[in-house]
């Protein structure tokens, strides 16, 4: 048993009204690779960010080699010997590889403030050599391939080795997410080798990778760390079982299918390089079609394409029997397609606008008398929908950013329903960040909407939500559809879905 390098005890973090992680305890020992797995929203990323110094925990304690530490920033963590390799590249694109690896710590290669380039390249090469990476330190970072950039990120993380007195702790957040099999293989081999000089925490949604490189695996669900396994003692199925965790309290009730036989929307062989490939499915009026998938499954990108927010490379979208081309979200709006984005605050509501102004933004043209806005009619309709959806506070001139998460979500939905009923609604994680009561309200609302004949495309984070709400489920993995389930036949178990996802 190796000595414990990093110990996390009872750490919790809350973001506005969501408890992202709650009472998590785990440790990372010397010379081992520890895996961290869990469903979307389980809290893995948040935990990593706390360990890397980006977020501050609300509760709990973190101890490095027995001494409690408080990390105030990324730089703090790096100074303490903890380095994180990010999901999205943290490399500065127009600097050379060497500068990125040694960013902020060029001192050894400076003389009287002037760069000694050869010295800098030498220092960087030393780091790259640890990984056997064949990357010249003098090239500009934006000329590298993704796999190469990941290697540079690894080298950058390793660079703290020389500065810290002890072996570093390396945190890897989905390092292979954007890579293909060959590139992933290279990176994974390096991660295996890291063992000799560091201890590693490895987050990934690909269970085969986790089982390949990790010595121990922690499973997180609903913000808690619920299990720990040694590599030898488990397999993929066991892990999937564990990932599903305990049932949440939400009672979803029985579903009565309201699907009509003719397809409302047909997607045929839709492709977009690096996102999704050959996606085909049908959506019927009154149907709720759930889309399951982990990170980089392509489902978010697909939904944005169906709303005109992104352009697919090839394929066809057929609405009501006519092939349509969506050049801009306004086209989708005109055709009766609505979209509720997952990031409510940044993309769903206009902060600074009132509830009324937000609600009528999309269909303002329908509320006109001649060229002018019919203010009286607007007031009446807004009042009606506030009441119907029970948006609180109920004053229509309340600034939208004063509303709670659940009420904001109702507001965003109202935007698509007011003045004109949509044919199709695309909901991207509508229950994300809501408390239990709000979730129930939205679920009831979604069911009602399906009953009125609207076709609903639903992306949800947890499989139990999907199963409860959807008539049919499509599972996507790495850009292709890896499974289809029909609830009409027999409700799929969460496990069945999960194994297609990961």
């Amino acid at each position: 048993m190796n000595e414990t390098v990093l110990r996390v005890e009872g750490v919790g973090k809350r973001f506005t009204n969501v408890q992202a992680i709650d009472g998590v305890s785990l440790d990372i020992r010397a010379h081992e690779v520890v895996g961290l797995i869990g469903e979307n929203g389980a809290g893995k990323s948040t935990l990593l960010k706390i360990l890397a110094g980006i977020h501050r925990p609300d509760s709990g304690r973190i101890a490095l080699r027995g001494r409690a530490i408080k990390l105030k920033s990324l730089a703090d963590a790096r100074n303490a010997g903890i380095a994180m390799v990010f999901q999205e590249s943290s490399l500065l694109p127009n600097l050379s590889v060497a500068e990125n690896i040694l960013l902020g710590h060029e001192d050894d290669a400076l003389r009287a403030g002037f760069y000694k380039w050869n010295a800098l390249y030498g220092l960087a090469a030393a780091q790259l050599d640890k990984l056997d990476a064949n990357i010249p330190p003098s090239v500009r970072t934006d000329t590298l391939s993704l796999a190469e950039r990941q290697m540079v990120e690894l080298a950058k993380a390793l660079a703290i080795e020389e500065r810290a007195q002890n072996e570093p702790v390396i945190l890897l957040d989905e390092p292979t997410a954007l890579l293909d099999t060959e590139q992933s293989d290279i990176v994974l081999t390096q991660i295996e080798r890291l063992r000799t000089r560091a201890c590693v925490m490895f987050v990934s949604h690909r269970l085969d990778e986790v089982l390949r490189v990790c010595d121990r695996i922690y499973v997180m669900a609903n913000g808690r760390c619920i299990a720990q396994r040694e590599r030898a003692d488990c397999n993929a199925t066991d892990l999937q079982q564990l990932m599903l965790g305990r049932q949440t309290h939400v009672e979803y009730g029985k579903r009565i299918s309201t699907t009509s036989p003719t397809p409302l929307l047909s997607v045929r062989a839709l492709c977009r390089a690096d996102s999704y490939h050959a996606v085909s499915f049908d959506l019927h009026a009154g149907e709720v079609l759930g889309m399951a998938g982990a990170m980089c499954s392509g489902r978010e990108s697909l939904c944005r394409a169906l709303f005109g927010a992104e352009k697919p490379d090839s394929g066809e979208i057929v609405l009501d029997g006519h092939a349509i081309r969506l050049r801009h979200p306004a086209d989708a709006v005109r055709l009766g397609i609505g979209y509720v984005p997952s990031d409510r605050r940044a993309e769903g509501i206009v902060s600074g606008f009132s509830v009324r102004e937000n609600m009528t933004l999309t269909h303002l043209n329908e509320l006109r008398r001649g060229p002018f806005i019919d203010l009286a009619r607007e007031k009446e309709l807004v009042g009606r929908w506030i009441e119907r959806l029970r948006i609180k506070p109920s004053a229509p001139d309340t600034p939208a950013h004063h509303l709670s998460g659940g009420n904001q979500q109702k507001l965003v939905l109202a935007k698509w329903l007011i003045a004109r009923t949509p044919k199709i609604l695309i909901l991207d994680r509508p229950l994300c960040g809501l408390d239990v009561g709000a979730k129930e309200e939205i679920i009831v609302l979604i069911r009602e909407l399906a009953k009125t004949g609207i076709g609903i495309l639903l992306i949800a984070d947890t499989s139990d939500e999907l199963i409860a709400l959807s008539d049919n489920i499509i599972v996507m993995k790495d850009g292709i559809i890896s499974g289809r389930f029909s609830a009409a036949a027999e409700k799929p178990s969460e496990l069945q879905i999960l194994e297609r996802m990961v």
């Binding site: 979200p329 306004a330 509501i349 206009v350 902060s351 606008f353 933004l361 303002l364 006109r368 806005i373």
Partner: protein
């Protein structure tokens, strides 16, 4: 005025108070200044800046800026001075159509090439100024056809037509912004362009329209200058760029976009005009004007910037 009631935020009161305080200060220093006749002159003085500031408000509400308006106004003055003698009223209309088209062109490039408005209008500043200087190296007096613009310099009931015209244009535009969906779209883009686009707002069209307006109003400003000076001049309006932007900003429209409005710009323009006359009345060196504009503009932006809205400031 209904316009004033539409102003939601407390900061709107500030500029009004500043204006009144200024007028009082000037009146205390020189009581004769506050006569009706003098105030009329003050109003007439501010009409060109008001015209420029009106359209600039729309662009700033979107979150952009138009640095080329003054140069385009100068170009318009030159073209109008040349056109009046042989084409009269219709010549002037043609010039206005041209400036409107130029504005639309700038908007098109900004929207479709996705170049920042600073860059596009900076380039425009150079182009229109250069063209104006090439066409007319010095002042071009208007020998004939002045009547087409002369009405601007008249007074009715003691109120200068130029000011009435500018104020009317402002109020019409304000009415449009309030009652047309376009007004909401503009503010939505200014506050959160991503959310606006995902709500079906066509940002490109709105941007093009906003710059078309600046083109039109630049032309109108040029027209007003020809009326006032009986001539056209390739650099006459150049010094008005900063005061017109200042008028928008000290009126209380935020540079980040979304908040503010035309009512505030009216107050801002009056403050600017009061400052100018105040400086002259107090006997200060006219060189203090550019210093005050510079300080005002920077202070106004600094005070109005919501820190959260602008994480990256370039």
């Amino acid at each position: 005025m209904r316009l004033m009631q539409r102003i939601r935020l407390p900061p709107a009161i500030g500029p009004l108070v500043v204006l009144l305080a200024l007028l009082c200060a000037i009146g205390a220093a020189q009581p004769s200044f506050l006569s009706f006749g003098n105030l009329s002159v003050l109003a007439a003085e501010s009409s060109v800046i008001l015209l420029l500031a009106t359209a600039q408000t729309v662009v700033i509400l979107l979150g952009g800026i138009d640095l080329s308006m003054a140069a385009l106004a100068s170009l318009a003055s030159v073209l109008i001075a040349l056109a009046l003698p042989w084409a009269g009223f219709y010549g002037m209309i043609a010039v206005l159509a041209l400036t409107t088209f130029i504005g639309a062109l700038q908007g098109y490039v900004h929207a479709h090439a996705q170049l920042p408005s600073v860059v596009v209008t900076l380039a425009g500043l150079g182009m229109w100024s250069g063209i104006a200087l090439t066409i007319a190296h010095t002042t071009i007096p208007v020998d004939a056809g002045y009547f087409a613009v002369g009405w601007l310099e008249d007074y009715s009931f003691g109120i200068p037509h130029s000011f009435a015209f500018a104020a009317a244009a402002l109020m019409i535009l304000a009415a449009f912004l309030h009652w047309l969906p376009l007004g909401r779209h503009i503010r939505a883009i200014g506050l959160n362009a991503k959310a606006a686009q995902l709500s079906g707002v066509r940002m490109a069209r709105v941007q093009i329209l906003a710059f078309t307006l600046t083109g039109l109003f630049s032309g109108l400003a040029g027209m007003a200058m020809v009326a006032r000076t009986y001539s056209g001049n390739p650099t006459i309006a150049d010094s008005l760029l900063l005061p017109s932007i200042a008028a928008v900003l000290i009126g209380g429209t935020a540079m980040t976009g979304g908040t503010g409005g035309l009512g505030r710009t009216l107050i801002g323009a009056l403050i600017i005009a009061a400052l100018r006359i105040g400086i002259a009345a107090a006997g200060f060196d006219p060189a203090y004007e550019p210093i005050i504009y510079g300080v005002l503009v920077v202070t106004a932006v600094a005070l109005m910037t919501e820190r959260a809205n602008a994480p990256i400031v370039k």
